[in-house]
């Protein structure tokens, strides 16, 4: 039996003729810290909203913690915590009062539980201040506190670092790590901060224009193709020669080097070709791409994308 906490099956959302999410099949396994990546407008928030029952899919299915969201959404929602984009609160009430109210909507929580989640997010000292005087970072932390209130099995954090300053981002990263390390939660994290995702997540999905273009481990994604830094004389001629090869993806970075993405078995062939044509090959070295570089490559050049389920 699958241990997926979130599973979408050919999930599609259309607004009039515009397809926002296109046949998306995602799977978040129990224990995952799952990064959900995509450019602005790629369909991340719409997917998360469909997963939580806020938005009705045009077609496809969502299973959250084993429950079909079109049939038994409340059973699933009772066991999850979520913040969707900027967490919103009743600004004239205190953080404590807000938590009390949101806890009541989930069946209630004891004072000790509220104190515990305030401790986790480091807001205990400011709990009785009105939310309107909270900084953006404090509001985000209060958002996580309310998500943790019902002692969830699965937490969905949609852009939790959005709008935070570097200090706030750092604090949020530490907080998410605590959730993983100390509470053992399954977390789905949607973020633009790819370095953070690379540091925290074990699996990711990348979507672009509503379509899934990668799903799997970060290591696999980065190891999938090799980028070779190539330094040769007559660089313009070399660029022209290699860029005509459909098996290679060539880009220039400055005057002296080419960056060529290719399968490992192509490396000696490229070297041989260049030597045969009289080029002086001065450097041919594999480069390890960062998640950010892979992400940019995948989302900027749809021709190179591929889906993996």
């Amino acid at each position: 039996m699958s241990d997926a906490v979130l599973e979408t099956e050919l999930l599609t959302k259309k607004y009039s003729r515009r397809v926002v999410v296109n046949q998306l099949s995602l799977k978040v396994e129990r224990g995952d810290i799952f990064g959900f990546l995509g450019r602005n407008g790629a369909g991340k928030s719409t997917t998360i909203r469909m997963a939580l029952g806020l938005v009705r899919p045009t077609s496809g299915r969502v299973r959250l913690l084993g429950h079909d969201m079109s049939k038994h959404p409340l059973r699933a929602l009772a066991r999850i915590g979520a913040i969707i984009e900027a967490p919103a609160f009743y600004d004239h009430f205190s953080g404590w009062r807000n938590l009390r109210m949101f806890a009541a909507m989930s069946g209630g929580a004891k004072t000790e539980r509220i104190e515990a989640v305030l401790d986790i997010v480091g807001l205990r000292d400011r709990a009785h201040d009105p939310v309107r005087v909270y900084s953006h970072g404090m509001r985000q932390r209060l958002g996580i506190a309310q998500a943790l209130l019902p002692a969830p099995e699965f937490v969905i954090l949609d852009e939790p670092t959005d709008g935070l300053d570097p200090q706030g981002i750092h604090e949020m990263r530490l907080l998410i790590r605590r959730l993983r390390d100390e509470l053992g939660l399954t977390i789905m994290l949607s973020s633009h901060l790819l370095f953070e995702v690379e540091q925290i997540c074990n699996r990711i999905a990348i979507i672009d224009q509503g379509r899934l273009i990668y799903q799997g481990s970060i290591e696999e994604l980065i190891a999938k193709t090799t980028t070779i830094k190539l330094t040769v004389d007559r660089i313009e001629e070399a660029y022209q020669l290699l860029s005509h090869n459909p098996k290679l993806s060539v880009s220039r970075n400055g005057d002296q080097s080419l960056y060529v993405i290719m399968a490992d078995d192509q490396i000696p062939l490229v070297n041989a070709l260049l030597v045969e044509r009289g080029f002086r090959v001065m450097e041919l070295s594999p480069q390890r791409e960062t998640l950010e570089q892979v992400f940019l490559r995948l989302t900027q050049n749809p021709a190179t994308t591929e889906a993996k389920n």
């Binding site: 806020l54 009705r56 409340l74 969707i84 967490p87 909507m105 309310q146």
Partner: protein
Amino acid sequence: MLTQLMLELFKICRSRSVHLSFITLIGFVGLMLWGFYSYAERKTGGQATEQFKYTYESKNYFNGLTFALYSVMFSFSLLIPIFVAMVAGAQIAGEARTGTLRMICVRPLSRVSIFLSKFLMVAFYTYLLMAFFIGLNLLAGLLFVGWGNLELYPGPLNLVDEPGKIMRDEALWRFVYASLSGTWALLVIAAIAMLFSVLFETPQMATVATIALYLMFYIIGRIEFFEHLRPYFFTTDMDFWRDVFKPSIPWQSFYHYGSICGAYIFGTLLLAITIFSRKDITS
């Protein structure tokens, strides 16, 4: 559901528009008193105080009950509906605008119960508003004018065709009935505002649309030229609440138009709930 009702009560108690509505009604009663006094002063050549003293002692012609009746009747059509539309219109659209709606909707609560708890609280607020306003008018009438029987005259209230009277104790009961029938009539506006609150993304839009719709029918319904259209307007049916101030309550017509208002309320709520249950929360 009870927890949700308590939460909605808590929110409504802290709402500025609710505070504003009660403060405005207090101001309105003050203005009405001032208006009555200055009118009487002008008509009696500066002897108003004596006139009211006479009224107080003789308890006839004009007294606190008459004052309360005029004040309630005048404000009911144009003032109280604004507050009801304002509070009801903010229920869904207001939470959507601030983003708290999406926070609520990812809790294990059905949208039907979210909607109904909000509507029930709006209904409670509407009753409080009516009861408070009627009570305030009666209190002001007692303190500043004095009580007697409720004298009814043909005139601007368009209530009776010939002079009539309701005895004081009976009249007080009629005010109690009015707080209930008036609330029921106002719930038509509350239901429409809740529907617009589901349809529009801002509370301002929902409130303005409700008030515009209400005033449009209200004004057209009062133009003699369009008299033949009057029976088709919900504003006409809403007037049933005034029947409790007729010397003899026409119960059959009262129940008939009250039932029509009920159909408006439940029909509009059903439509609003259906839309809200299927609505994409994108705010």
